[in-house]
Symmetry: none
């Protein structure tokens, strides 16, 4: 009996550090996790560096690494992944940015970086500034969720090595886009012109006039950041021979999935928020194992609890996730390799990602069952998967499935 | 609560191998070490390769690696570090050697490689041969401790790829300096001329005439070895944002500290010898945590006991060090990450450095507390720091302190 399929569940930002309020335990140590524990007990455990020791992974670079794509080679900035997440495919040469709709005063000082977390009317606003042409460069602009949006520059001689317009804090004047290398001077000029032109147009837009009349912050400015280009890469299915489907709530990860050629599996109630319907995601994953050889779910909730610095919430979220794992273990087809891990740690004490290793459990035919019985940051260290790095994971799993090619004879 | 500072205590050459006279225990297993044990129990342990498995570190290459500077990139020979240790800053293009004052007979056969471990008069001897000019190359020569000295060649077209003049054994004829590559022919010629010229001058020096009249071995010859150039490197503070101070007795390590831009913290009684005043070093380290974000101490004594092949002495020295660790733990500020490790193993049975991994303990806010309770070569293996390499250590610690930059978004 061999495993023919993989179900990879990514508990975003779950690993943590000892926390005083939890009796110097990590949230994962403090939570009751019979599901995670069963998986590691019936299989193998480990702790791993997703990118390299001491390298703090972003969500995007971590997921690329987990799927076997070296982020040092394939990553140049977040823009193209965000764009793919809202359905825009970057072409070679495009430079993409993630943006916020923001409120600025007449001195271009940021009053609200999220324009009152604007929800309605962003499509009209985006349409009013998309399709313009600046110095021969085509502007593609599309709204995403709430105040978020993406900007694509399409034309010749563009270069992503430019600074952010977004000052990343309120009451600061918006930044001029500056070239980091001489080759990017033209790109910076186009970005700066776009920021000015779009301000003029947005100020007069009906949506904003109505917001102003209601006393709401107007979405009169666009703040681009995270410039990047899309690197050419071999799609996941062609590279590994596994048809892949991905479930995620947030646009960035949908973008990573789309760029790698995964089908997006839409799940009602999968929001990418703290209140996401995890069980629906789990059920959808089980169902889709009929159609795909590789199914992956990202659950963002523990990362959000980490960013919020809320240890009690993190414990609660982990226990909700654990129920999903228990559910999946009940009905998981015998031919499926189950992989539980995280893209990075998000310690409550840092309220941000950290380079601390993540824990991993793997269960299924072909896995050497080790002595680990508890799924946490310390217990897993004794497991046989310890030392594996993110970039090596896919190749390791192909080996477990008997799909890896022999080197030599 | 986060750690903002680092105190790194380097027990030089402490790890060892099982020794018959110690009941097949290592000195660290045989010694009573409540201080080291407390540190690892309250924090995390590990065993690590300072450079790479099977690579035997020198003191210089090990310390470079520990501070995050790849020795394969930044190290070309010991000379520039010894020179920096006695206060001479190499310039780009300089070739530096460490040297001994030695006694040779009229056939240039080495009678005493250390000229009777000469102590007095070396400044006069050095001054008499410094500042000469050979083939357009400026000679800078300076005495160090006892029979040791440094030689700098300053000029055009110099190349460090030459062999040692020092035959490294007594009753051998001193070696001719030979080029290892054609580009180093000129350098070898200058070195050989310097050896002959300095012999002529030293033979007539008043210090030597007096030594001869007292029946002491004359310091009539210079034996250069360890040629190297200084590679350009970014200073530690600029690279990591941590103001650093270093405490060491021996010139080589003072040199490493100076080259990386550490302030040298002078401690009365810190000799670099077996009888060094360890407690004074510990007290100085604690005191200087007010002024520096990174304080490091090297304690050479266990390495010396290893080189001497004296297991009982090594146990004794380790217990003396342990008292210092206990003392430090008593008053260590809460914001300080304590790191205990070694630069390499110096097994008593080899009387030399070995490639055996070293043990490490890390204690402070942000560290995941593991199950290790004893600080020794075997117990530490189960710890979560196992697998980390020397070169990755700084980046790992920046991550613990929440100072590492995110790669991606």
């Amino acid at each position: 009996m061999k495993c023919d399929k993989i179900l990879m569940i990514i508990s975003d930002g779950m690993p943590d550090r000892p926390i005083k309020e939890l009796g110097m335990r990590t949230p994962l140590q403090a939570a009751k996790t019979p599901g995670f524990d069963r998986a590691v007990k019936e299989g193998a455990g480990g702790t791993m560096n997703i990118i390299a020791p001491g390298v703090v992974p972003g969500s995007d670079t971590a997921h690329l690494s987990l799927f076997g794509y070296d982020p040092f080679k394939y990553y140049s900035g977040r823009g193209p992944f965000e764009a793919a997440g809202v359905g825009i495919d970057c072409r070679p040469g495009d430079v993409a940015f993630r943006c916020n709709f923001a409120t600025v005063d007449d001195k271009m000082r940021v009053v609200d970086r999220r324009a009152g977390r604007i929800k309605d009317g962003t499509k009209e606003l985006a349409d009013s500034i998309s399709s313009m042409n600046i110095e021969g460069v085509e502007i593609i602009f599309k709204e995403a969720t709430e105040h978020r949006a993406v900007l694509i520059l399409r034309g010749d001689e563009l270069d992503p090595r430019v600074t952010d317009v977004d000052p990343h804090e309120e009451s600061a004047i918006i930044h001029e886009c500056l070239p980091l290398v001489p080759e990017a001077e033209f790109t910076a000029k186009v970005v700066n012109k776009f920021v000015i032109e779009s301000y003029k147009i947005l100020m007069k837009n009906q949506v904003n006039l109505e917001r102003a009349s209601k006393g709401l912050p107007v979405a009169n400015s666009i703040l681009p950041r995270g410039a990047g280009i899309l690197r050419t890469l071999e799609k996941f299915e062609s590279r590994y021979g596994l048809k892949a489907g991905g479930i995620a709530g947030v646009a960035l990860l949908k973008g990573v999935f789309r760029i790698l050629g995964f089908d997006l599996i839409n799940v009602k109630g999968a929001t990418g928020g703290i209140d996401t319907d995890m069980s629906a995601k789990g059920e959808a994953a089980l169902r889709n194992l009929d159609s795909y050889e590789f199914v992956t779910i990202n659950i963002k909730a523990p990362d959000i609890a980490g960013h919020d610095g809320d240890s009690a919430l993190k414990v609660k979220v982990i226990e909700r996730m654990d129920a999903v794992i228990s559910r999946i273990l009940r009905d998981l087809p015998e031919d499926t390799l189950l992989v539980l891990l995280s893209d990075h740690s998000t310690p409550v004490s840092l309220r941000n990602h950290s380079a601390d290793p993540v824990c991993i459990a793997m269960r299924g035919h072909g896995i050497r069952v080790d002595t680990v019985e508890k799924f946490d940051e310390i217990s897993c260290k004794a497991g046989i998967l310890t030392g594996l790095r993110g970039i090596e994971l896919m190749q390791f799993m192909l080996g477990i499935m008997g799909r890896a090619e022999k080197f030599g004879a």
